[in-house]
Amino acid sequence: MAADPTGVLTGQHYLDGNHAACEGALAAGCRFASGYPITPSTEIVERIAARLPRMGGMFIQMEDEIAASITLQGAVWGGKKALTVTSGPGFSLMMEHIGLAAMTECPCVFIDVQRGGPSTGLPTLPGQGDMMQARWGSHGDYEIIALCPESPQECFDTTIEAFNLAEQWRVPVMVMMDECVGHMTERVIIPSADKLSVLDRRWTTKKPGEYRPFDVGADLVPDMAKAGDGHRLFVTGLTHDERGYPVMNHKAQEKLVRRLVDKIRLNADKIAHYEEDQIDGAEVVVISYGITARVAQRGVQIARDKGVKVGTMRLIVVWPFPETRIRELAQKTRAFVVPELNYGQMSLEVERVAAGKVPTVLVPHGGGEVHDPEVIAEAIIKAARSVS
């Protein structure tokens, strides 16, 4: 369905990624945000704090990120679409509640504007070191969805996509920005509300007494109800049955956790979102995401100028990892090159899925700036030579 025009700032703007992400959230129908200031994400909560009160929404700055990351879930069960925003240290504090959102199937969106880490690291400079944390940061076994925008325009677009995915699959969805994209200002085009596609919550049509909150259909995702609908909901982080009631045994665990994992894994191809260029006949395929994908594109140009056949795959949805497509590419190309602002995170996934069919070359960078495109070009050329 179309977006609610109240939240859509239609027009051409010159915005940084943080402001654009805020506009994406509002366009997607987000009317509740809980936050805690942290560089380099703060502009998102600053803007949403200024924007929400005048469109009937609510922003609250909580006492810490632990609070922010569960206040938004309370708001979701109260019927709102909700957002929280943070960066590395705050993201670490939010991990328990990402697990809670996964377990209770609470559709909500977390934005992590990644900075150099670990610990306090480089608050004002970019990194991509939270990619595995987004996937595995909470204890136990679960699945989430994560996206990586490469520009302010995509910060707007992927934040809408994140809200839609959260509603469709009832998982916490993470928008994994980085400081560079967050603080970079470019043209952002916001279409009119009727041109935007926004998903509503999967409200149950069943009556109290008939409705069981965690019953699922073919897509393995339950329909939802909110507090006050008369269903006497029971929502718990404990392992539970279809009624939501705690059941402490391995059978209930197998049934529930298997489904939480399967609803994403079995639908991964539907959730997948990536862009490819010049894959056919490529000797080397560069797989990258976020700001690094842009910089890598420059490296690819340099390598192509030197005669190397290079294809690119840019991940927009990074989790679930697009295994099917990368497995196919491993049959077509002779090497993968993976530049990222860390010492090897998504490259491990590429390597795992490539399963020894072709080599995976990591181009690591500790963060604090982006790659020198020449370094990526060299890695591409070297990879091409070593397999030819």
Binding site: Q12, H13, Y14, D16, T39, P40, P123, T124, E179, C180, H183, M184, T185, E186, R187, I291, R294, V295, Q297, R298, Q301, E369, V370, P373
Partner: protein, 181 residues
């Protein structure tokens, strides 16, 4: 693929970031170009030498940062000392002449000077110095159309100050034309 890298430098409070924002916006929204603005954040952005960087291009910008700017607009001596060595060979320096003494001059640099502070003071508000400089920048670099930059000034400054800022822009622009003749 013409790529122009620009750096704006001065001290905190001079409106350096706004100057960069106006130029980037002019290019991206009103002049059919691509423009990426980056800036230093954190305590360093509030202190002595602060900067904004804009890449302007006819095609998609891949690498967002500026390392060897073709054009520099500088409004403090400290910024000149820190940033001018980065200027690309044969690059253009656009400076506020009462605030910057362009010594040493990078090899092959072309220098344009304007008494922007005095012009701003004549307009009654010293704080429009940055907009005078933007007008001057537009005039001497000819990178973007005057209309595009003027329009970007108009929708980037606080509503009550639009007339004053447009005047500041025009005065800076005229100064550029004057010294060209």
């Amino acid at each position: 693929m013409a790529v122009t890298e620009i750096k704006f430098g001065g001290f905190g409070g001079q409106g350096i970031i706004l100057a960069g924002m106006i130029v980037g916006k002019a290019a991206a929204l009103y002049d059919n170009k691509e423009a990426t603005l980056t800036q230093a954040f954190g305590p360093e952005a509030r202190g002595s030498a602060c900067s904004a960087q804009v890449v302007v291009s006819d095609s998609r910008i891949l690498y967002p940062y500026v390392h060897r700017p073709h054009i520099m607009m500088l409004m403090s001596q400290d910024a000149y000392t820190r940033f001018s060595p980065e200027l690309a060979k044969g690059g253009t320096l656009v400076i506020e002449e009462d605030l910057v003494n362009p010594v040493p001059l990078p090899e092959g640099a072309v220098v344009y000077k304007a008494p922007a502070t005095r012009i701003a003071e004549e307009l009654g508000r010293r704080m429009v110095l940055n907009i005078v400089m933007v007008g001057f920048f537009a005039s001497v670099t000819k990178l973007l159309s005057a209309e595009a930059v003027r329009k970007a000034v108009q929708d980037s400054v606080p509503k009550g100050t639009i007339d004053l800022n447009l005047k500041a822009f025009d005065r800076g622009f005229e100064w550029g034309k004057k010294i060209a003749n």
